[in-house]
């Protein structure tokens, strides 16, 4: 089953929409609650990153018997130094974004911790593509 969501940069009010929809579906098909929790945490962080750092993006979730693959493809500034961005506490978030309670620099590390695999491809000036996978068992 494939699901798609659009995400707009700056739209903090709607950040979390995709993760709550995915959560609902995973619950209904009977996925283990612990797995759901990890998926929701990782996806929420990834969604917020598009809202906070990029211009717009598309989320595509593929749900299969074995697990869920989520691809977040955005048009945005890209990430120049991915290993650096992955460090705990590293953030380039603007003061305005920080004031709203985002930008603690924990998003990418949290995504890493809550997925079975996390892959980030990025082209500076063009955009970022995040692929994450969680097994159901």
């Amino acid at each position: 089953m494939t699901l798609q969501f659009n995400v707009e940069g700056g739209d903090f009010a709607r950040a979390g929409y995709a993760s709550s929809q995915i959560k609902k579906i995973l619950k209904e098909i009977g996925v283990d609650p612990d797995v759901i929790k990890h998926v929701v945490v990782a996806l929420y962080e990834a969604e917020v990153n598009i809202v906070a750092h990029a211009y717009h993006g598309v989320i595509t979730a593929d749900i299969e018997k074995e697990g869920i693959r989520i691809v977040l493809d955005d048009a945005g500034p890209g990430i120049p130094d991915i290993p650096r961005a992955m460090e705990r506490g590293y953030s380039t978030a603007s003061p305005e974004v920080r004031e709203m309670g985002f930008g603690a620099g924990m998003g990418l590390p949290n995504m890493k911790d809550n997925t079975d695999s996390l892959d980030i491809e990025s082209v500076v000036g063009k955009g970022t593509k995040v692929t994450m996978y969680n097994k159901f068992e």
């Binding site: 993760s19 209904e28 098909i29 009977g30 609650p33 612990d34 929701v40």
Partner: protein, 444 residues
């Protein structure tokens, strides 16, 4: 769908009274009701006994099951555990002493405040919560909330407090006291005056590994009316009923909203929520880890907590106000707290709570995904106005029922029009379909 369920049935739809108006179906927070054959039908394993359906039924077609009052006489010692709100139903109208005399005259040998167990529960919670690795800890006080968590929020089962609710502590205290006096247990009947169906269910079909010492329930409205009648007719004598209604300030307030919150130490950040809709909202947030810094959740299914229980007579706001007023002059602890600690302190654990039928589309994930996909396709075809004409509470619910083989897509009036237009459905078929759902509402 209806009868194969192992869960206790506290509410019953009287099919001869039900007119199939669908009000209950629209009010159910877990979407456990449908209309078919002109009658409301309950999907038992989704029912959390919150009793919203009972409250909205204008035809009094939903009945609360009750135990035969005469059962109390199967026991030599007949102990009644009374929530203090029972007395507040009468306002200042009838003195407490008169009420307990009437309870004695009705046949009970002892009456005890159910909130005596609160102090020990508070003690345990205040110790447990700061050390708990799982936060927020969720109260096990309201059984309807426990059922909601089992049915819709199984991931939060681990957040439930490990302790039995105060009612069970008090019941245990009574049981042990009689045991220690050398009285055989078959001579002791412990009865609980219940404000709601959820508590009845929690006694008839307890969750967790715990076995309750409570023998039976007395519905609060029934007892209220019996007491009032005897009072008006002056039809009672003073008698030797043993009365123990000592409760602490916290105990008196416990069943009201923020009652548990007030009993928590300052270092515990507790939040109190009442009303089933609000409770669902907060559980959703808890599940999403959006409740930073909250240590304890007091959650109650009813508006205004137990003062708003469906078996409570009188105005819920007045009852709460009366209990708060009475609580002010009460001591911090019950005088027999030490005895409670001795008799119950080592057996306060609830045991493991299991999730309840959360797999809507069966245990096989592969099949569930396929069903889910079909549901989404159907939903996209349905009008999305949740009119209820199909006998299901929403377009989404109809789609789910269709996929689960419980209904057909032609139950939707918009689909009927579509099929009629394309010639695949005749008006006569449509009439048949609608009569199957709603019964004969007019002569055709």
């Amino acid at each position: 769908m209806a009868d194969s369920c192992p869960y206790y049935r506290g509410l019953q739809i009287l099919t001869d009274v039900c007119v199939g108006c669908s009000h209950c179906m629209r009010s159910c927070p877990t979407k456990a009701l449908r209309v078919s054959g002109g009658k409301a039908r309950l999907h038992l394993d989704w029912c959390i006994e919150c009793s919203r359906c009972y409250q909205v039924c204008e035809h009094r077609a939903i009945k609360v099951m009750d135990d035969d009052f005469g059962n109390i006489f199967n026991y030599k010692y007949r102990i009644l555990l009374v929530p203090m709100l029972f007395f507040s139903q009468f306002g200042d109208g009838i003195p407490q002493k008169t009420i307990t005399d009437i309870i004695g005259d009705l046949g009970f040998t002892e009456v005890r405040a159910v909130e005596q167990g609160c102090d020990l529960v508070a003690e345990k919670l205040n110790e447990y919560i700061p050390d708990s690795t799982v936060r927020p800890v969720i109260s096990t006080y309201c059984p309807s909330v426990i059922r909601l968590i089992q049915v819709r929020f199984p991931s939060l089962i681990m957040n439930l407090s490990p302790y039995i609710p105060p009612l069970e502590v008090t019941a245990q205290y009574v049981k042990r006291k009689y045991e220690n006096a050398g009285i055989p247990s078959e001579e002791v009947g412990i009865f609980y005056v219940t404000p709601c169906v959820a508590k009845i269910a929690s006694i008839k079909a307890p969750v967790g590994g715990y076995t309750t010492p409570v023998t039976g329930c007395i519905n609060m409205d029934l007892l209220h009316d019996k007491v009032l009648l005897k009072y008006k007719r002056k039809d009672f004598k003073e008698n030797g009923i043993k009365v123990s209604l000592e409760v602490s300030r916290n105990g008196m307030r416990w069943s009201t909203t923020r009652g548990e919150k007030h009993a928590m130490k300052k270092y515990i950040n507790a939040m109190a929520i009442d009303g089933i809709g609000h409770v669902m909202e907060i559980l959703e947030k808890t599940e999403n880890d959006e409740l930073d810094g909250v240590d304890f959740l007091e959650l109650r299914a009813c508006d205004e907590s137990c003062s708003g229980g469906i078996l409570v007579r009188g105005n819920r706001f007045q009852i709460t106000a009366d209990m708060h007023r009475k609580s002010e002059s009460l001591p911090d602890k019950i005088p027999m707290l030490n005895e409670y600690r001795e008799l119950c302190g080592d057996s306060m654990l609830l045991g493991k709570v299991e999730p309840r039928d959360v797999k809507r589309y069966g245990p096989d994930i592969d099949l569930a995904i396929k069903k889910m996909e079909t549901v989404r396709k159907l939903r996209a075809e349905l009008p999305g106005i949740d009119c209820g004409s199909c006998g299901a509470p929403s377009c989404e619910a109809l789609a789910e029922d269709v996929v689960n083989g419980e209904r057909t897509i032609e139950n939707c009036i918009f689909m009927q029009l579509k099929y009629e237009k394309s010639g695949s459905l005749k008006v006569k078929n449509v009439v048949d379909i609608m009569e199957k759902i709603w019964g004969k509402k007019y002569d055709s």
